[in-house]
Symmetry: C2
Subunit: 336 residues, 2 copies
């Protein structure tokens, strides 16, 4: 079929080893030899066979990214950051989406990327110790993004601190009764975001000597319609909160929707703060915690590439900062 290194060698009147040396930019090749070989390569349109190369070098030049819920904006942004970095490297990006606990288990049991990739980026999915052990046994460098493992490099944001900031902001606006709406606290796939943000919520209340009221905490699902429903439930309480902190922007959108349904307006009638700073948050004036999603992806990819190229493999923890973006959904309420 396609030309092989042998064809090039024959045509250039050299041995295949010399062609290989030219291909791999070995310094010990006479300039004129190199030129001749390159000319033949160009003439034939020769391209080295990846599989053969991989077989002998045991290097795939690919890395895999494993992430859940390809549909959610957060993961897309992370993916973007990763892609941007990887595209500028010699590596290719193989993507594995996990949408269910079964799929997750299957992936980490069968390790389908083993032998197909040089490294692994794991987004948001916490790993059990035996799973980590298996990765390390397979000698597969891995970097965790938005989740943490003590013996793997990890890139995270401070979810507890971010939630603390959000709630503290509401308190500084004079709010005393602050609701919390989030997805499952112990979800199937083991994310800890919601739990962490709840912790930040509680810490902020406690720090300001406010009570933690169970009826103000609504943990349900990571879906907009849950935000909607939870907001209605909170509004129907005998003493409804005057502000709501949503564990992510999507929930906040649902909440704002519910308010509108009741003829209320976020900001004027009830303060709402979200988390993520999705593009849409700006559009509708949602106060929220900005987290550098794309940058998390970038950072994670950079750490992995560094590990691959330089062999560095210390399990460093990179914590990226989050900050509050004040918009109209949390302006000072008329009545406190």
């Amino acid at each position: 079929m396609a030309y092989t290194i042998k064809d090039v060698a024959k045509r250039a009147g050299v041995g295949i080893a010399t062609v290989s040396r030219v291909l791999n930019e070995s310094p010990n090749v006479l300039p004129e030899t190199r030129a001749r070989v390159l000319a033949v390569i160009d003439e034939l349109g020769y391209r080295p066979n990846h599989a053969a190369r991989q077989l002998v070098t045991a290097k795939t030049n690919a890395i895999a990214i494993i992430l859940p819920f390809l549909t959610r904006p957060f993961f897309i942004e992370v993916l973007r950051g990763i892609e941007a970095v990887v595209a500028n490297s010699e590596y290719q990006l193989i993507i594995f989406n996990v949408d269910s606990p079964e799929q997750r288990t299957r992936y980490f049991n069968t390790l389908p990327f083993l032998g197909r990739t040089d490294g692994l980026l794991i987004v948001s999915l916490p790993l059990a110790p035996p799973e980590i052990k298996r990765l390390q046994a397979a000698n597969l460098p891995a970097v965790m993004i938005d989740t943490q493992a003590s013996n793997l490099p990890s890139v995270v944001v401070d979810n507890v601190g971010g939630a603390f900031k959000a709630v503290e902001h509401l308190i500084s606006q004079g709010h005393q009764r602050i609701g919390f709406v989030s997805g499952q606290l112990e979800p199937d796939l083991g994310f800890t975001v919601n739990r962490d943000r709840q912790r930040g919520y509680e810490a902020a209340l406690t720090a300001h000597h406010l009570p933690i009221q169970a009826e103000y905490v609504r943990a349900g699902f990571d879906r907009r319609d849950w935000g909607h429903q939870a907001a209605l439930e909170l509004l129907d309480l005998a003493e409804p909160p005057s502000a709501i902190f949503a564990a992510n922007d999507d929930l906040a959108f649902g909440i704002i929707d519910a308010l509108r349904e009741r003829g209320l307006k976020a900001g004027d009638d009830l303060a709402v703060v979200g988390y993520d700073d999705l593009e849409m948050a700006q559009l509708i004036g949602l106060t929220t915690i900005h987290q550098p999603m794309e940058q998390m992806g970038r950072k994670g990819a950079e750490v992995l590439l560094a590990a691959l190229n330089e062999g560095t493999r210390r399990p460093t923890l990179h914590t990226l900062p989050v900050n509050l973006i004040e918009r109209t959904s949390s302006t000072k309420p008329s009545k406190v």
Copy 2:
């Protein structure tokens, strides 16, 4: 390092050919032999080496997807559909994002996926004839999604027809002066969406004996802020349009934003129709053309997999339907 087929053969007391036969589910193996080999495989935790296998079979078990602007919702949805199908196959998904004309050129000139993938999914990027020729010369099956090539299987939606529907809807609501806001008509990367939708816009006007007025057509950029700016420009005309058809939802969001700035409301004061039916369109009540983005991805992936498995390679054209979703942004205007 890892165990090889030789280790398994030796330990099972068979030849390597027999192990290979077991691995590949060849029928001509005695059940007891098979069982013995499988036991050893399990015992050693043996896993076949991909590179070696690829080298001899010339099959990679991977497909590549090339798409622009990983950040835009449309492409994400398509990607989702593709991923869903591919995940259930034996193939892995390698992703190439192209954000600039240079990158596009580089990809299609160097064909970095050549020899690394068995097939190609190309999203939205039109291909020049020589590029197609090169793909076919390399014997790389490819399927186009949201773009069309006469000699490659293609999955498209009817953009002209969709735009026609949108504008016809506005006309049926009594509108006579209808603006059109879109991104570049001849963009760098060669998309034809905007051009196609403009054609639909003009066709609808003509079909209903309405004039095509140049000042009502605002082609600029595929960005929300352009929608914003274009809307303001249209409003400032001596005789502003009473309705605007936006070539995509994102532009429509910008338009609605601009209206709000002027104290106007989409639907009440000026009708707005978008295109895409993004999730957010529902949230803000935008009338829009729904296109089955995820399904396009699914269909494209299915066509490619069929081509790979069955060797079918006819350049069939699959056109998916679009339909109008009526919401509040296009309710009957007070004054016509």
